[in-house]
């Protein structure tokens, strides 16, 4: 789970969940506290979906824009 997606891809991280900032891969300080917790929950849910999905190369599991919170 990281904001530096291209680096994660280059070093071969198999499952990548993009975050919104280098300093806060699992958060978003621009959101209200409840909305940020909801965003973080979506990120962890995507991570859980990622680890249950077979991959054969670096694969991005983004939180979809329409399900994004405060995007």
């Amino acid at each position: 789970m990281t904001n530096l997606v291209t680096i994660a891809e280059q070093v071969g991280a198999p499952r990548i969940v993009p975050g919104r900032g280098i300093q806060y891969p699992a958060g978003d300080p621009n959101l209200s506290p409840p909305a940020e917790l909801e965003w973080r929950r979506r990120l962890v849910e995507r991570a859980l979906a990622a680890v249950t999905t077979p991959v054969n190369k670096p694969t991005i599991f983004a939180v979809d824009a329409e399900e994004g919170v405060g995007a």
């Binding site: 789970m1 994660a8 070093v11 900032g21 891969p25 699992a26 973080r40 929950r41 859980l48 680890v51």
Partner: protein, 341 residues
């Protein structure tokens, strides 16, 4: 032999970031690390001049290396030395470009930098010998560099045994044995347990084979791990803020959220204000606990692992990864979420 030494503004004693814009200049004799290097080289070789340039000036334009090379020529260099740059990116980049330009102009040259220095690729086929990651390792680094210079001065090529790192020199030369015999010898060496010997070193990141997926997250033990340097407030175990040499583990059994002022990040590579206002932004414990309570995660592992990625070498990071995977596997964990800054 007449040697010319390249160092940046900092090692020449001309200033730090404030002097990084300085243009190139030539000093007589040695400067900075050149003094110890000269002692180690003895009387057979003389550093006759030191070329200095500010890192920002030198790294911002590849054409500067031609200018620096010309200055070395003017000083009648018979061999050019650049660095040691340790892990410094701009300095390493300039050293690498300079030795590449020198080699292309048939001036023997060698640079010294850490194998993970981001500039190392620019050296091309010109020789680079390994330096430590930080300037604290100056003496052993200069001892290796001095030995490499002495060997290079005899006309012999530098090899891995001299501490050579980086790209491969593809130089045509005659060898005693034909390829078939050498190949069989390499196979026999491999069978005898030698995993390193090769005629063609392969650089770059190795291939990561993705792990097979877990069947169901709601039945799995899941761990949280991070390279964001999350530690208890006050950093009681003194995790480094850069260039980690170790990692730490902290219990989170019964902990529902990482409270600001109880936990913090000591990472040195980015501003931690936002992370320290809510450390869950680095290690998503509050959300993972909710998902555990809701049954989406079978069980959240009772401790998290933490280290700092800032400036940490690839080799060290790889070792941490292997150790983390082994620890988690032993503890019965099936999946891990790694947050990276």
């Amino acid at each position: 032999m007449r040697l010319v030494h390249y160092v940046n503004q900092f090692y020449a004693g001309l200033g730090g970031e404030d002097a990084a814009g300085l243009g190139p200049q030539v000093l007589d004799g040695t400067a900075g690390p050149g003094r110890l290097l000269q002692q180690l080289l003895g009387e057979d070789h003389q550093i006759v001049a030191t070329i200095v340039c500010g890192d920002n000036y030198a790294a911002s334009d590849p054409a500067v290396s031609a200018e620096l090379l010309e200055m070395a020529r003017t000083a009648d260099a018979e061999l050019l030395i650049a660095g040691p740059a340790f892990g410094s990116g701009r300095y390493g980049l300039v050293c690498a470009r300079l030795v590449a330009a020198a080699q292309a102009a048939d001036l023997p040259a060698v640079a010294s930098m850490h194998p993970d220095n981001p500039g190392i690729g620019e050296a091309g086929a010109a020789p680079v010998v390994a330096a430590g990651a930080v300037a604290r390792q100056m003496r052993p680094t200069l001892e290796r560099l001095a030995a490499a210079v002495a060997k290079l001065a005899t006309g012999a090529p530098l090899t891995a045994e001299d501490g050579r790192v980086g790209g491969n020199a593809r130089i045509g030369r005659l060898v005693e044995d034909r390829a078939a015999r050498r190949a069989v010898e390499l196979v026999l060496a491999r069978l005898a347990g030698d995993r390193e010997r090769t005629e063609v070193p392969v650089g770059g990141f190795d291939v990561v084979v993705p792990a097979a997926p877990v069947d169901k997250a709601d039945a799995a033990a899941v761990a949280l791990v991070t390279e964001g340097a999350v530690v208890p407030f006050g950093n009681p175990d003194r995790l480094e803020s850069a260039r980690a040499t170790r990692w730490l583990r902290y219990p989170i059994e019964g902990v529902d959220t990482l409270v600001s002022g109880t936990w913090e990040s000591v990472a040195g590579g980015f501003a931690t204000t936002l992370a320290n206002a809510d450390p869950n932004r680095l290690l998503p414990l509050d959300a993972a606990r909710e998902l555990e309570r809701d049954g989406a995660i079978g069980h959240l592992h009772g401790e998290f692992f933490s280290t700092v990625g800032n400036g940490t070498s690839v080799a060290t990071a790889k070792r941490f990864g292997v150790e983390w995977a082994a620890e988690l596997r032993k503890a019965g964990v099936q999946a891990a979420i790694l947050t990276a800054t």
